[in-house]
Symmetry: D2
Subunit: 349 residues, 4 copies
């Protein structure tokens, strides 16, 4: 277990976005963490609490100017919360200093099949660096993450969609490509104002986007193929913007090879003992998981069991990003899996 | 054309709910309407503007106590905006006075296949009264409604789902049962407060419901069967509650028998000249149709054209209820189809 | 009455913002208007319906490049919907062509006292052009606007605050400066995205701003001084941003020189017959006026009648801008005051 | 310090409302609390997590049927979270068993002046029980609560209004009765659905209520009189409902006896060292305090310092109820003041 004498040293690279802010909110009071440094190009020199109101009442310093190699030499755990495409530009330099645990929250190191990656993202700039990375779907891998040194945290949509489909895929039940209908809140678009997140436009609106092929379909396909053993398997993710701030709700409609009467039992068996996945008796409410690292799931069968519908609700910035990243850290370092992230949500909020 | 000398006499039976309020908002200033009477059991005697703030600045009287047969004798056009199951209790009495045009907005007279009806609603109380009723999907039937005397207005979800699937079904392109993911605003639950529409619960929430088989699947199946000629055809409608007040957004994912490269062309051809259906070049925004009788549709192909995704946005109380009902009246009576309902929306709102 | 043979020619200068969009929404179907031309620097050449979804189903052309003098020569009525400070830059050039009716919606020509203007806005660039302008508080002036050629439409906050205080000021009842607590929706900040209108920030937020002296206090003070005859009179307007899209709610707390038992009677007397001001028996709901040109007002006395509290609700873009501007046009030209703007709102919406 | 050997035993009487739910959310994981029992008439027998989704992932049992005297005998600390008027019905029975610390969250024991109480609430049923109660405005009293056995927690509006006015009142600066304009979210109306919290009605609405004299003016007056030494002093609280779920924003406008140039300095001095009150350099955002026990305050002077405007933002269920109640418990028992309630908020959320 990589750890300093009295706790872990953590560096957050790219801490000024919403995901970075959530990482800092979770890591600053984390019982196993001794020290946190945050790096930001655009906000270097500014106190954390001025950039992120959620940090106003936490002890924390100021953002430092970016220094990936320096941070990598100092830290026991290195979190990258940069825009997609940026971490692959510095990863070779970072790996050269033989860092401790590296956790990347962008898409850069999630996909090993380069043909699949290229289709959605273009040419990768550091394919050699991919090798040691594991796809950190923490609620599925669990102890499988123990001792891992390079973790790519799944995307927000992919996390919800994959948690919904995993039991069906792993049991080899899927007939054809299932469809996931997913909605996200406005924090999914980041901290920079734009037309689709302008309050007058977004506040009472609802619209689809990227429905010809959302990028998260790439990482989802790679996982579904591995679980099912079917190299042609995939996941159709139809994404929508809803007038909510936080949260993702995914509805999976899957045709099965043979009828399944009681999908809830299968889901309870597969996720039994996993602390952050709850299989509910009724459809999950998004509000109940906002701000938490929990995923709430409900599964039902219809049309004689040949079709299964699974609803999954999560917080896009916690379970779909920063919370899962800390869960990965806990698992990789052998800390208690729920340490620092076991809190429930506000309700109503 | 059934019409009084100086305009039409209209009666609205059950005018105190949200759909009733919208009917009155559209009918009171309608250029072809001479007189409107509104009936309500719970609000008899109260001025319209006290029950519906939208009517505050319109000339209108007060709600009268229910008198279906009396209203039927007086009116040229009779609208029923009662809870499901109530209009079938009085329809035989109403039809006995040989009324003019009867337009029912509940589910009672939408479904002719009694096996299908029974599956979702139980036993019908007045099956004989069903005979003359036509399913008033106005944007598809158009002039086909001219001269009709008995019209059952489609359900809000069914309208959006059917407008999305109609061109594909009518062309015989569907392979298997398509899935519709639909979200609705809180007005869809009616004017009576309950837990799922309690502001603290609903304001930032999102959740599925009735996903094992929403009632609107019954009327949708009957239409898709008629259009496609396939007696086993159907539509899977997975419904969700979103934190919006008005509007329905439906996303259809359909597998096709053979690839269709350019679904937008098909949709433009099928809906060409229909005044209330717009085929857009990009996904529709719900906000753009709120308060209007327009349906905005976008269709795209993916996976080599074997899968088509169609987004359809509408206002649940107008296009999905009162607006379509007035459009049915216009068409049935030979009035200009858009009369009194051609206004656009507020944006942003 | 300035009017072309078959209706009025209208030009909207600066039509791409939210106020410009609302002007076009009201003017394009206005019964007395024959032709509308819209000018925009940033959107020249673009169809109106692409810039403003509310115009999608209205007949309308495209935005033209700015040509104030040309527009002034062509039009019977000229609306300026430019950012504050811009109309004073072109007004002298416009007035030089001896235009018909000129209606400015910015602050530029609202304030005649140049010391007052300077305090809040700095030096005026065209003070000579101010002379003919009247402050178009339409619900107070009414027929007093008949025949006027130059009208400055009041600001959104000022309209609500002044309608609330006018009866008290005009009766000479005010003791000291009353306080108005006002909240506005996000459309008040315009169509350009910024941090305070970023959906994640604004959606569930509430905060004050400009409370040391909002600019609308200047125009409000000039009116209150004129009404009360007290050169030291004023209005304290404490502004707040609320998580709503449209609407302003103003709460006036005024100390009176002598007790007033029944302020509602005074308000009913003063606004009797005015078509767009309703004095209600209970506090107004913002939702009931959104999208309309109506102001809803409630007045009560407390503390033995020495303090009067007045609530006023309006739509900031209609009654507080475009609707009032059209009302000014109607009145100035001798058209029916409510023509084209008498519609009620959606409720609920 | 009243405490069991290995931690405190806590009973929550009336735990099924929103305030009860928040108490349980804070007390169940509180480091000094050993055991929590929750009592509810309407939900006896139901697991806590079924009634309050926020408790789903906390260890907790089920609600028990009410037994005030039994609870009082068992518990070290007794919280009452009943509707107003209910705790005075059982308090004499409770006090008869000589309980430990009693903390009431209703209005019943906040006001000692019976004339004032009667004016707003009618006749008190147990005036003798009032004697030992202290008004628990924790951020003002601080260590003054040490050792107290009977605490009445201030109302949500009163807390925000009093924190805003306290420094001015205590310094004897107030000239006349200041006005507080306050807005609240829908959780302030409780867990039971009603028209004004029906989502279609509330979601985009804003309206005033109780502006002729809100009940919280009574407790506020008693405090302002005590602080200022002026028996005629008071606070005018004009309340409004906003389309938010949680939070109260109060804006105080106060006329001063003599000019105060720099009110922020006074506020910083008065609240220096108080852990839950932050004096900000700019107006507080409600979103930054939602879910927390912090009050954020901004004070500015205008009109030559003769008028001071103070904005105060708080969470109505935490700082305005359950959080302040736990803070009172901490202070009364000599525990660290911030124990169990020091967490910051989510932002954005």
């Amino acid at each position: 277990m990589v750890q300093s004498e009295n706790g872990i040293r953590v560096a957050v690279i790219g801490g000024s976005g919403y995901v970075g802010g959530e990482l800092l909110r979770l890591l600053l009071p984390h019982p196993a963490v001794k020290e946190v440094r945050a790096f930001s190009e655009s906000h270097a020199g500014e106190p954390l609490g001025e950039v992120h109101p959620s940090l106003l009442h936490l002890e924390g310093g100021s953002f430092e100017a970016p220094d990936p190699a320096g941070a990598a030499s100092w830290a026991d755990v290195l979190f990258f919360a940069l825009p997609h495409g940026k971490s692959q530009e510095v990863m070779e330099e970072v790996l050269a200093v033989d860092p401790g645990l590296v956790i990347d929250l962008a898409a850069d190191f999630r996909i090993h099949d380069q043909d699949l990656y290229r289709l959605y993202y273009g040419e990768h700039k550091a394919p050699a660096a991919l090798e040691g990375f594991v796809y950190g779907l923490a609620d599925v891998l669990g102890e499988g993450l123990r001792g891992r040194k390079r973790i790519a945290v799944p995307g927000c949509f992919a996390t919800a969609a994959l948690l919904a489909v995993h039991p069906l895929a792993a049991e080899g039940l899927l007939a054809g490509t299932p469809t996931v209908f997913a909605v996200t809140g406005s924090t999914g678009s980041g901290a920079k104002p734009k037309r689709t997140t302008h309050h007058p436009v977004r506040a009472h609106n609802f619209f689809g986007y990227s429905q010809a092929g959302h990028r998260h379909e790439a990482e989802a396909a790679e996982q579904v193929r591995a679980w099912s053993g079917d190299p042609a398997a995939g996941l159709r993710i139809l994404t929508h913007s809803a007038p909510i701030v936080r949260g993702i709700h995914a509805t999976l409609a899957a045709h099965l090879k043979e009828p399944l009467e009681d999908p809830a039992s299968l889901f309870r068996k597969v996720y039994g003992g996993r602390p952050f996945v709850s299989i509910l008796d009724s459809p999950p409410e998004l509000s109940a998981v906002v701000g938490t690292n929990y995923a709430h799931i409900h599964a039902l069968s219809r049309e004689g069991g040949r079709v299964v519908v699974v609803d999954c609700a999560e917080d896009n910035l916690v379970k779909g990003a920063a919370g899962q990243a800390v869960q990965c850290m806990n698992l990789a370092l052998g800390l208690p899996e729920t340490q620092g992230i076991s809190f429930g949500g506000l309700y109503p909020c």
